[in-house]
Symmetry: C2
Subunit: 336 residues, 2 copies
Amino acid sequence: MANEQTQSYTIGVDLGGTNLRIAAYTRDAGLLETILLPTRLAAGRDAVVDDLCGAVCDLQKRFSTRFDLYGIGIGTPGPLELPAGRLHNPPNLTGWDGFDLRCELEKKLQRGVVVESDANLAALAECFLGRGLSMGVDSLCMLTLGTGVGNGIILGGKIFDGAAGMAGEAGHATIYPDGLKCPCGNDGCLEMYASATAVVRAANQRIEAGTAPMLVGQKWSARTLAEAAFEGNADARQVYTDAGHALGIGLAALVNTLQLPLYVVGGGLVQAWELLKPAIFEELHHRSYVYRLTEPGSPVATHNPKGATHVLPAELGPDAGLLGACILPFTANGRS
Amino acid sequence: MANEQTQSYTIGVDLGGTNLRIAAYTRDAGLLETILLPTRLAAGRDAVVDDLCGAVCDLQKRFSTRFDLYGIGIGTPGPLELPAGRLHNPPNLTGWDGFDLRCELEKKLQRGVVVESDANLAALAECFLGRGLSMGVDSLCMLTLGTGVGNGIILGGKIFDGAAGMAGEAGHATIYPDGLKCPCGNDGCLEMYASATAVVRAANQRIEAGTAPMLVGQKWSARTLAEAAFEGNADARQVYTDAGHALGIGLAALVNTLQLPLYVVGGGLVQAWELLKPAIFEELHHRSYVYRLTEPGSPVATHNPKGATHVLPAELGPDAGLLGACILPFTANGRS
C-alpha cells in the first residue's frame, strides 16, 4: 500500500449486537487506542449511532493532530446492502430493518465512511494481517464460528461483495437438507451445526436424548465443552466431531466451487481446532476431489505451490473484525 | 473488445470424450467454419492430438489469407491444472492422466494456445454471447446439465480459475450427505441428481422400486422422459421435480456464497427448464434468504437493478463450449 499512508491513520468501528468498539489505527503501530462501549440497542438506533459517532469524534480529536485521517471503516452485522449501506432485517440489530447506516453516519460525521459486514471484515483482516499474510496469499475464504457462522471471501486483496453486497453467506449453505430449522428460514444450514450456539444445543439435545451420559448434570458452554473434550470426555468430543463433519461438508463444497489458495476457520470456536480438525479433513478428503488433487503434498501442490489449497485455523483472535474495519479504508473496496 | 480484433479470427477447439470440434471464428461473423471429428480415444492420445492439430492447420490455411490469427483456445474435460495445462485423471479422457495438453499442443502447432475446462468455456460463452449479454452483466455462475453437471464461474468478464485452475466444480458439491455414490468419491453430489444420466437413473430406480407405474415398459432417455412429463406423465414429471430440488439446493448455496447477478442453467437437460423450474425456485426461496432479499421484484432489486440475483436458463445451445473456446483468446484469461 502506498507511501502516503505511513503518516495516515484510520478509524475502525466494530458495531456488534452486544459491544461497540471504535479504534484508531496506523499501519506501523496497529491499534493506537480502542474505545469499548455497550451497544445500547434498547435505547434505540439513534442512541447507538450517537455513541458511535461520539467515540469516532473523540478519536479524531486525539489523533488528527499527529496523523491525517485516511478514512473510516464500519463493520456491522448483515444483511447489508451495498453500495447503499442499508441494513435488511439484521437478526443481531433488531429494529434496524431498512436503516441507511452509511448515509446516517455520513450525515452525522460530515464525511464519507466505508461500510462492510463484520464477517467480511474479519476475512479482510485475516488476509492482510493474519493467516493470509503468513501464507503469502491475497485470496481466501473465511468461516467465523461464533454465535452464528459468518463468512467472508477475499479475492485479490478485495472483499468479494457480490452484486448487492450479500456474498459471503456460506454459513447458510445447506449441509443437511432435512436438518435443523435455521432462523434464516432454511433447514440444515451450516450455522445450525458449527457455531458456538450449535455446539451447546447439540450437547443439550444429546443429554435429553440420553446419548451423552458423560455430559449429564452440567450447564455447558462451547468453552467448557471443549475443555471437557480435551480432557478426554468422549461425549463432549463427539459434539465437536459432529460440528467438524458439518464444517468439512461445507468446506468441501467451497473448495470445489472456488479452489482458493486458503480457507481459514476463525471465531471463538476455533479454540477447539484440534477437536474439529480430524472430521474436517476426513470430509474434505472424502467429498472434494479438488482438495485431494491440490492439498499440501499433492503432485499439483508440490509442482506449483501457489496452486495448493490450504485449510487452516485463523491467526487473529476476537479483534479480527475491528482490525478489518481499520484496514478497510486502505483497500480498494473503499466506496465512500 | 479492441478494434484491431475486427480483422482477427480465432480458432476454438472443443475436445470432448466423444466428439472433437474445431472452428474458426470472428467477432463479426461468429463461427466461420466448424470441423467435426470423432474423438479417437481408442487410437490413443497421440492420434487425437494429431487429428486436433491437423484440423487447426486446415483452418489456418483457409483463413489466414483473409484474417490475422489472434489466438487458439482449447476446451477440454477436466480436471485441468492451470496455468500448466495438465490433465489429472480426467474421467472422460481415460488414459490421459498427467498429460501436458497445453505443452503438447504448443509443440505440435508451433505457437501458444490457451487451455480451459469445457464447463468454464460454456460459462464464458454464455456470459459474452448468451444470457450474460442479454442481461447486461459480466459475472455469472453457470451449471451445465449434461452427462455430468459442469460448472463455470465468470467474474468481471474473466473465467474464475481458482489457485490451480480447479474452481468451478460445484457439480460435485454435496447435496445429500448420505446420497448416491459419485465416481468422484463423494456421496450425494449435485451431479448424481441433476444430470441427464441422473434423471434416467432415477427413472429406472423408481421403476425397479415400483413407485413409477407410468414409466414401466419403456427404455427412457432424458429427452423421452421430458417429453412424457410435458405430456402429463406424472411419474416422469416427478423425476424432473426431484432433479429440480437438488438443483435448487445447490443454487441456493451458490447464491448465498457468491450473490452473483446471474445464475445460468444450461446443457441438454435445460430443454426441460419448465419442468425443473418450480422446484428450483421453491428451494431458492426456502433456502436462500440472500435470494429472497435480491430476487427480481424484491426491494433491493427494485431500488438497485444491478444488485438483483437472476436465475435463468442458458440461451446458447450445444455450441456453448465451442464458442467459449473461440472467444477465450479475446478475454483476459489468455495465458499463452
